[in-house]
Structure formats: C-alpha cells, structure tokens
C-alpha cells in the first residue's frame, strides 16, 4: 500500500486537531506534505519519518522540524516520475524495470490518495528491490504540491535521474545501534555542522577505519552515512585503481581524491583496505608501496576537513600499514562485532519486512536466539533460503501459469496467480531447513556438525553432568546471577579419567544442549612443522571464539598440546603452551568463551595451565560403580529388541571395573551376534537379542580388553583388580591421593 506516510503520537495529533489520514506540512530544507498515521503516546514529541523522506527534507535523526496542519490540498492532474540511479543496476536495466512497472499500473495503486510535491523522492518496492523515484514534473504548474487521485495521470520519464546517495538508510541496518550513533558523531555531525567545530577550534576526523569480521555490515554502514548526509559516495575497490603503467595506480588514486574534493561533501570508501595498503615492510612489490605512500599523502593533503571523509573497511586491521592508523589519517577506529540476540532480531525483522511469515513474531524471536555467530549477511541468506523453500511446492504451478500466454484470459490469470501467491506462507519449518544449509560464515572453518547426544543419552555420571551444566550452561544462560554475586565464571574445565569413561560423550552433550557455538580442536592437529604456525593456530581459534561468543572451545586429547614445559623435547609444543597460557589469562579478557579440555593423562599437563584463573575446574570421571553400570546398560539397550528372558542385572556384577565404552561394546557385540544369526539362517526370523548373544559378547569384549569375567560368587577378580590399578596408575590417581594426604598433613 502507499508508503508515503508519517507517524505522530496521539497527543501531538490532538494538539494539531487532526485525525489519521489528514495532511500536514513538514518544513525542513524543503517543504513537503504527508498523510499522518496515529501511534501511541510513548512517541510523544517524536515524528516517524523513513530514510527517503528524511533525505528529501534534508533532516537527520534527532533534529527538530516544524509540523503544521494543511486545510485544503489541490488535486494533481498529472505527475512525471524519474527513476534515480541505483548502484546495483545500469541505466538499461532501470529502463526495463520502468516499463514493466508502468504496464502493471503499480504506481496508480501505490500513490493513490498520497500528497506529492516537486522534487519529492519515493521509494517503491519492486521485484528487484527498492527503487527510488523523484517527482520531476507536476501539473497544474502553479502548484508545488497536490493530492494524487484516480484521475491523476502518472507518467514515467525515460531519463534516469542522478542520485547522490546509495539508497541505503539507517533503518536498513539492524543490530548496529551503538555503531550508528558513533559514526553519526564522527562523520554526520562534522559534515552537517562544520561551524560548531570551527568555533570550538577542533578539527573533524579525516578518516574512520571500520574493522570486524566479514558480513557484519561495514560497507552497508558507510553507504547509509553517505545517503543520510546527502554526501557523494566514491567507492575505491583495491584492484580497480591498479594500472599496468608505471605511476598509473597512484594517478588513479589521486584522481579519486581530487574528484571528492571538487564535489564535496563526499565520503570516500575504501573497501578491503588491507589489500590496497598492506604493511610496506612486508611487501616486495614496489607498485604496492607507492600506492600506500600515495594514499598517505592524499589523506594528509585533504583540505576540506569534515567535508571529505575517508572511510575504510577491513577484517584484517593488523595487516594495514602502521602509518595509516595514526591520528591525522584514520583518526578513529570502529569495531563492528557480530550481532547480539537483540541485533539479530532487528536484522531478521529488516530482511523479512515483506515476507508472509506464519506467526512472525514468535518465529523471529526463536531464530534470533538460535542463530548465535550469524552475521547480518548470513541472516539475509537464511531468510532467502527459508523463502525459497516455501515457494518450492508451488514452483510447477507458477511456471505453468506463466507459460499460459492467453491474452484474452489475462485478468483471470492474474487472479489465479495472486491466489497462488497468497497461499505461500513461510513457516518455522522453512527456517529450520534454512539453518541446516546456512552456517555462520565466521565459523565455517571451524564449525562442526552438532552431535545429537542429549544429557539423557548418558548413563550415570550424575556428578559430572551436574558439574558441567553448572560450569558451562549456567554462565551462558544466567550471566546475571554471576554479576549479582560479583564473581566471574570459571574459564576452563578439565575432564579427566581413564579411557572410555565418557569424557568425549559428555562434551558432545554439552555441544548439543548449550545454546552456544562449539569449536572442536583435536590436540595433535594444532602442531605444525612450520615455525610459529602452531601458536598461530591457537591464536586463530581463540580469536574466532571471541568473535562468535558465546562459544565453547573443546580440546580433545589435551595432553598432546599442553605438555609440561622443560621436559618436552619439542620447542613448538612449549610455544603452544605459552600461547594457551596467555590466551586463557592474558590482558585481553576471555569473555563468554569457555574452554573444555579432555585428557586421560592429567599428570603430563603443565601445572600453570591448571592454576586458578585458567582451567581451574577439574571434573574427574571414575570407573563406573554398580549403579552407574545399570544406567549405562539401560541407555545402550534402550532401543534393542531384547528377548524376555534377558536379564541385564546378571551382567552388572560381571562387569565390575569395566568402563562405559566396554559396556557399550558388549551391547553392540550382542546386537551383532543376533544379526549374524538372522543373516545366516535360511528362514526369515524376527531379530531378537538373546541371553546367549550377551554371554558371547561379554566373553569377546573381556578377551579384547584383557579382563577375565568376574566370578559371581566372590565378586573379586585378580586380573580386573590389576587393570584397575593400572588405570589408576595411568591417570596418576595415586599421586593425587598422595598429594591430597600431604596437603592435609600440612594443614
């Protein structure tokens, strides 16, 4: 429907003596008329204008504007609209869209009942996105504004109007409220009010460097600032300025700066600035060095301070030449992080503005919480994927409808098409499907497919489960409790215990059940043959985790990368330990990032890593007791077709000192034995698992792990006792007990 509306609060409307639909005049740099829509009293003293209206009136967010009631408004006989340049389409494409829109009579429907004036910009949603039109002519000629009615003739000009901005407004950016505020202070304010800066004797910033992971909205933010300040926008892409001639690249760059100064106010935007201005000390290419030097001198030479601002974006700020980051060049740096829950909600709201979503509010709430680590760009793709999925069942029908080229039945076809389109609804299921396809881009290198293990799939280990939930889930779900208590949550947890006791299984459940990103690191994978690479890997992992926080980093076989310093033969392992130490408890705080490490050789780990403040919570998993073994058997036989005579309790005593993995092997082997029977038999038998299958499996596993089955009468077995001792020795439990006793004696 018509979008050329403004909103006013109920009490402001009463003050003006108007009701919804009546017309008011807004007086900014230009005077324009709009219909009013009523909103609640919470917006008292505020007026709701979209970006296109703001840009036509020449006002920005937060500025004051005069509102007055219009009693009578003349009817327009005809208006002519010209489409404005669009950065995504060329002139030919725009002319084609124009003719399609004209034929569809879309303008008549959109502009009916709206007051329009000369020079007014209108945003029109088309199949290819928002196109901006400007009212270039109107009749009768003696009036500057009037009302569009049924009789008003709407013409479209063949000419393409010049657009200074990029058609992106602040309301098109979600989740960057603070950043927008900061950027407005840095760029918009000095550009619009240079006199204030002159009077105070302060110089406006020359350059702003936007840093942050890819897809977080750096380029979008720069475009929005240019549109909202009504400044020219000159974009410099690295390869675009490079020339094959000696000195050509520098000349191209100089030209861009000269153009900017001639047509000020201008925002020069350098995307991926690390590619155009890398560290001069590290590059061997002379041409690159000269381009960097040219950029430095061009920025120094900028005369119209405040009127020409250079904005640059990079996701690798450390690779930039240091000279660029000093005051006088890029005075300010603004980091743009992946969006929070609230930010993701705003972004989803923006991208689903025109989508027919079933139960929209609930769906957006749910998916803004589920999409941790997703950037704005990822969320846009997510919405598109969900929409595409919803259209799929109607594809063939829509195509057949499009192929029926019966001109007589055109009206009916349109109705049928509309009916079909009305049927398309995007549901929660479509979003779930889209989430399987679209992964958070910042996590792509390290992302794992989440395991399907739930807390209920783990038999026994109640203490470990409770401890993990308390240490991992609670700080992520209720950080407020920690703030109230005035403490910081534990940074790391070490899961230790003999092999097969369920360390990795527990972590799988954490990964699945905690609402956080999960990075899994296999210890040995970190070690590289190249000097410095191993530490770099560790740094990268922690950097990624910080970017996509809340995040859990899981180090499996932790002892392989955390060996005690001084005894290790390898220098690179020691460097990894040092890197880990600084990452865990360095100057840079580890916020909302939790480390879980698993090992069965705790004795090998460097003690500095286990001191309070680093991996300070230790969860010991022991060989399961009788009660736990019952639970483990229950979990593994849950879905097995057991014969009635199978009594699992018979095996509980026989598996004294067996680990969870051993018990799982028994159940699996019993299943395999049953399969073998059915497979080998000529008759078609129903697959059931018998006591005999279990007995055989028990013997097989006992042989495999080197334990003879326990004597039921005595309940004691020499070999199993020996194994238990071995295990305890391996995990240095003995040493631990010894240490505990020593500590007690000391006290």
């Amino acid at each position: 429907m018509g979008q050329i509306l403004i909103t006013l609060s109920s009490n402001d409307m009463e003050r003006l003596g108007i009701v919804s639909g009546e017309i008011v005049q807004l007086s900014g740099e230009k005077k324009l008329c709009f219909r009013v829509m009523r909103v609640g009293e919470e917006f008292s003293g505020k007026i709701g204008l979209d970006g296109v209206i703001r840009s036509t009136l020449g006002v920005s967010v937060g500025e004051k504007i005069l509102v007055s009631k219009i009693e009578k408004i003349p009817k327009l006989k005809s208006i002519t609209l010209s489409v404005l340049e669009h950065d995504e389409f060329n002139k030919e494409q725009l002319r084609t869209f124009n003719s399609q829109l004209k034929a569809g009579e879309k303008f008549k429907q959109l502009l009916n009942n709206a007051p329009l004036g000369l020079g007014q910009k209108i945003s029109i949603l088309t199949n290819v996105g928002n196109l901006i039109y400007i009212v270039s002519k109107c009749s009768p000629k003696n009036i500057s504004f009037g009302l569009v009615g049924v009789e008003t003739k709407i013409d479209l000009s063949e000419e393409i109007g010049e657009s200074s901005g990029t058609n992106v407004y602040y309301e098109d950016i979600g989740g960057l409220k603070e950043e927008i505020e900061k950027i407005r202070e840095m760029i918009e304010f000095p550009m619009k009010h240079p006199d204030i800066f002159q009077r105070l004797g302060i110089s406006a910033p020359k350059g702003v460097l936007l840093t942050g992971p890819p897809g977080t909205g750096k380029t979008l933010l720069a475009k929005a600032v240019a549109t909202e300040t009504d400044a020219n926008f000159i974009s410099i892409a690295g390869p675009e300025i490079m020339s094959k001639y000696h000195g050509g690249s520098e000349e191209n760059l100089r030209k861009k700066f000269e153009d900017a100064e001639k047509n000020s106010p201008t925002i020069i935007f350098i995307d991926e600035v690390d590619a155009s201005a890398p560290k001069r000390g590290e590059t061997h290419d002379q041409a690159e060095k000269r381009v960097v030097a040219q950029l430095l001198t061009s920025m120094d030479g900028l005369k119209g301070r405040g009127k020409v601002v250079v904005m640059a974006a990079t996701n690798r700020p450390d690779d930039l030449d240091e000279a660029l980051r000093r005051p006088g060049r890029f005075d300010r740096e603004l980091r743009i992080n992946p969006p929070t829950d609230e930010g993701r909600r705003e972004i989803l709201q923006i991208h689903t503005r025109n989508m027919p979503i079933e139960n929209k509010e609930a769906v957006l709430d749910e998916f803004s919480k589920k999409t941790i680590g997703y950037t704005g760009a990822d969320l846009e793709v997510l919405c598109k994927e969900a929409a595409l999925k919803s259209v799929k069942p109607f594809y063939s029908e829509l195509i057949t409808l499009g192929e029926e080229n019966d001109s007589k039945d055109n009206h009916n076809q349109e109705i049928r098409k509309q009916e079909l389109l009305d049927k398309i609804k995007i549901t929660r299921e479509h979003f779930i499907h889209a989430m399987k396809i679209v992964e958070p881009s910042a996590m792509r290198e390290v992302l794992i497919k989440k395991p399907h293990v739930k807390w209920t799939d783990i038999g026994g280990l109640d203490y470990a489960k409770e401890k993990l939930r308390e240490l991992v889930e609670l700080p992520l779900i209720r950080p407020d409790l920690y703030t109230m208590a005035g403490i910081k949550p534990s940074k790391g947890i070490l899961l230790t215990g003999p092999p097969g006791t369920g360390k990795t299984l527990l972590v799988k459940a954490v990964a699945n059940e905690a609402n956080a990103n999960f990075i899994s690191v296999k210890g040995p994978e970190l070690v590289s043959k190249w000097v410095g690479e191993s530490e770099k890997h560790v740094r990268e992992i922690f950097k990624k985790a910080r970017q996509v926080a809340p995040c859990i980093i899981f180090f499996d076989e932790f002892d392989s990368i955390s060996k005690m310093r001084g005894i290790s033969m390898s220098d690179s392992t020691e460097k990894i330990v040092n890197q880990l130490l600084t990452e865990l408890d360095g100057i840079e705080e580890l916020e909302k990032v939790m480390v879980i490490a698993a090992t069965n050789r705790r004795d090998l780990i460097d003690p500095a890593l286990l001191r309070p403040g680093r991996i300070d919570s230790i969860v010991e998993l022991e060989i399961p007791d009788e009660k736990t073994r019952i639970e483990i058997f229950k979990v593994h036989t849950k879905n097995m077709p057991l014969e009635k005579n199978v009594n699992i309790n018979d095996y509980i005593k026989k598996t004294n000192n067996w680990t969870g993995a051993d018990i799982e092997a028994v159940c699996r082997n019993a299943g395999i034995n049953a399969i073998k029977k059915v497979y080998q038999s000529a008759k078609k038998e129903k697959l059931t698992i018998t006591q005999a299958d279990f007995d055989k499996a028990l013997k097989e596993v006992a042989k495999q792990i080197g334990i003879s089955i326990e004597d039921e009468k005595t309940g004691v077995n020499e070999k199993s006792e020996e194994k238990k001792k071995d295990i305890i020795k391996n995990t240095s439990k003995k040493d631990l007990n010894k240490k505990k006793k020593e500590n007690e004696n000391r006290r």
Partner: protein, 122 residues
C-alpha cells in the same frame, strides 16, 4: 424453496436460541471471511484506536457485526464475539475480531485520504 433451510425465515434463529447457541445477525447470509485476530491497538487515556492503510480505496464503509461460523453440521451459529467489517462498494475487504474489552456502542470511524481510523471510547 425448502422452508427449513432458508435462514431468512427466522426458524433457524429460533432453534439456535432454544439450543443456546445465540442468534444470527442480520448479515448471516454473507459467508464470513477469515477473521484477523491480531490487531495493533493504540491505547490512549480515553480511547482505543485501530488505524488501517487502505490507500488503494476511495470509498469504504465500516460496521460491527456478530461473528458467525459454521458448526460441524454445517449450520451457521453465532460465537457471541463481535467483528469489525470493512467493505467497499463491491466486497468485504477485511474482518477483524474486536477484543471483548472494547465498548462497541461508542465506536466512530473516519476515512481520510485512504487512511481508516476506528476509535472506541473507553
């Protein structure tokens, strides 16, 4: 014409009232469209407002009617709820379920330049 299946005879109304299902409104011969239950209500001190953008329309009418639904036997029955019906000269454009908290007796509407505003006094 079958005597009993004609709703306008009043027999259906009478039977429904006896059975405790409520009576038909005078509009029950129009099949109700899907009723919109999510209304964006603006509450101020003395009034509650609904505002609709119907820019495409030049003439509309607004009325409040009983909500009529068909039961399992295919009979039209009143639910006891009220519906705000917006129609132009040819068809019903929208039907919106009115929250029980609103007093329907004190309702007013204005239609200016394609914007409909319906208000209910508190």
């Amino acid at each position: 014409m079958n005597f009993f299946d004609d709703d306008n005879t009043g027999i259906g109304n009478f039977l429904n009232e006896v059975m405790g299902r409520g009576s038909f409104s005078e509009y029950d011969n129009e099949t109700p469209k899907k009723v919109d239950e999510n209304l964006n209500l603006i509450n101020v001190k003395e009034k509650s407002y609904f505002v609709f953008d119907l820019s495409i329309e030049d003439h509309i009418e607004v009325e409040i009617v009983d909500q009529i639904v068909r039961n399992n036997y295919g009979e039209k029955v009143a639910t006891g709820k009220k519906v705000l019906r917006i129609k132009n000269l040819n068809e019903i454009l929208r039907e919106l379920l009115i929250p029980k908290s609103l007093k329907i007796k004190n309702f007013e509407w204005t239609f200016n330049n394609g914007i409909l505003e319906v208000s209910f006094k508190k």
